[in-house]
Amino acid sequence: MAKEPKPQEIISQINYNPPQKSWMDIPVEMKEGMFCYGAKEKSLQTLDFPNVRSWSVLEEDWKLPEKWDKIVLEGIAERLKKYRSFKIFMDICVRCGACADKCHFFLGSGDPKNMPVLRAELLRSIYRKNFTAAGKILGKLAGARKLTLNVLKEWWYYFYQCSECRRCSVFCPYGIDTAEITIIARELLNLLGLNIEWIAGPAANCYLKGNHLGLEPHTIKNSIDFLVDEIEEKTGVRVSPTFNRKGAEILFVTPSGDLFADPGTYTCMGYLMLFHELGLDYTWSTYASEGGNFGFFTSMELAKRLNTKIYAEAKRLGVKWILGGECGHMWRVINQYMDTFNGPADFLEVPTSPITGTKFENAKSTKMTHISEFTADLIKHKKLNLDPRRNDHLKVTFHDSCNVARGMGMFEEPRYVIKNVCNHFYEMPENTIREKTFCCGSGSGLNASENMEMRLRGGLPRANAVKYVQEQYGVNMLACICAIDRAALPPLMNYWVPGVDVTGVTELVANALVMKGEKKRTTNLRGEDLSVEEKADV
């Protein structure tokens, strides 16, 4: 056996970075499946972004402006003046390593530059070289290095491998938030027209047409009409949503993904049914038809430009307050940025549930309430006729979406809702939920198809926890309150944990919701047989 060719020889062919070398000296290698395609000319043009041209990631020449390094350095200087967070996060990291193994991309890929500390050091090293005395004088000894084309490409590769989920920031003793660093690094890259098309395309759509998918007003109406028919078929109840209606009490805004692809559409049907059953005086808008904000993954300015539409439309329609659907980063933006960007919303009133009379004091200034807060309040006041047995075929677990978890802290509301509409609810292990929740691996605009391997790797820690509850309790449904989750988790489950489906929380609500005048429900919204009711009557 000793004469066998040693298997290790096969493995040693794997081109892994020699570990003795410092990470600074290892040039980036663009690996297929790990990156998203570069932004297209048309998208950049629509958004008035600089350096509009067609380019390809794998080509040597990225067609950068002549003094690109100067642009980047000036960009850094400007942002140091604008963001205390940036300055402090550049200065105070002690490289204790607490964050190193907290990133889902590192856990799934093992690529050291996916450790949050190193991801930040990619930028910090340039900061030190150009903006600190120690870095200027001592150079590499102080952890400084020169900004080269290779560094820039490395930035592009790794800052579009961070989903801005903030998990590392929970464990950092100084609260250093890699999301914040990624946001700024992406702003810098965008000064050179270096976006990815999966972000720039939807952002351009959203700018011109009001939503990421680029659905035009008539298509939105048709899509929802289609869902209305579906609802009638399943429940016998005809709901009648309105669009761009002036004088409605509430403007409803949700991610456009929910209008379009399964399983988001079921969640959308849930909204329609819930609001109909309540007799809510609300309207959809085709102009502000996007809750999400891919601008947020590009630059603060673009985030603001896209976000403007929500308040503008609320003002134009003369509504009293705004209700927001299930979405992750949408709620990070609404909770932490919207009022600052585009407030004060003094033309609106403090959100008040017309059904229960509850004043949502926590949204007193921003005037926008989350559907889970709204629904939890309804259930608490027993305003919904619910039959959770209809969800008895489901064993449900809940995935906390990163942004709602770590940019807002909404943990109990969705759980309260789920527990009231489902009889079988099981938590995933403690270190994978709530503030420690694992990202789906596709957040911050990284849910393209060309980087599927990266998404699957990044989603492994999440899937692994789902698999655990599947083995332990037979969990077959993964609930979430995020549109990107609803798009990204199904392939993740399909690959890692077959047998587990993905649902929005409001879909679960709608399935359990006993509506006035409904026919005997024989299927749930997905058209799956419900033999539960008969059993229950026995």
């Binding site: 000793a2 794997i14 599927m452 699957l456 692994n464 690959y495």
Partner: protein, 153 residues
């Protein structure tokens, strides 16, 4: 002592050696992490590899059928299929068992053929699974593209 006996007797040491050989195919600091962190959720890759090779080893001792190995091998290969490995590299972890065995137990000539064939068979199955995983990934990509096209039409 039959081969099975000596395998059972040296179970721990063979599996540990095998695990180390596999993990050493990752960069050093990653390998260190994969080896050191024992929490299933904090270190999914390490946990799945360890659990997977234990089950494979158990399967060999119990002389399980080829079909029974399928789900056991699947978990590890799913990971390798998204980690930039070429097919030959992705399944090479099976062959590393040969090296681990070589170092840890003495195998009689008459049993050598049997165990080698078993390992070769497992490698074959692994390759099948790997190709299936890759197909699935391509299919997932295609699904996404289809949805995207629908939205743009």
């Amino acid at each position: 002592m039959t081969l099975n006996d000596s395998l059972s007797k040296n179970r721990e040491s063979i599996i540990n050696r095998w695990f180390d050989l596999i993990v050493d195919s990752y960069p050093q600091n990653t390998a260190d992490f994969i080896k050191s962190e024992k929490n299933r959720f904090a270190n999914p890759v390490g946990w799945i590899i360890k659990k997977g090779i234990e089950d494979i080893f158990e399967g060999i001792i119990q002389n399980k059928s080829d079909a029974q190995f399928f789900p056991i091998l699947e978990d590890i290969i799913k990971i390798r299929a998204v980690q930039e490995f070429a097919p030959s590299e992705a399944i090479s972890f099976i062959f590393l068992l040969k090296q681990a065995l070589c170092e840890k137990v003495v195998i009689e000539n008459n049993e050598l053929f049997a165990i080698e064939s078993k390992i070769d068979t497992l490698a074959g199955i692994s390759l099948d699974i790997f190709m299936k995983c890759r197909e699935k990934i391509e299919q997932l990509k295609a699904n996404e593209d289809r949805v995207l096209k629908k939205s743009n039409s």
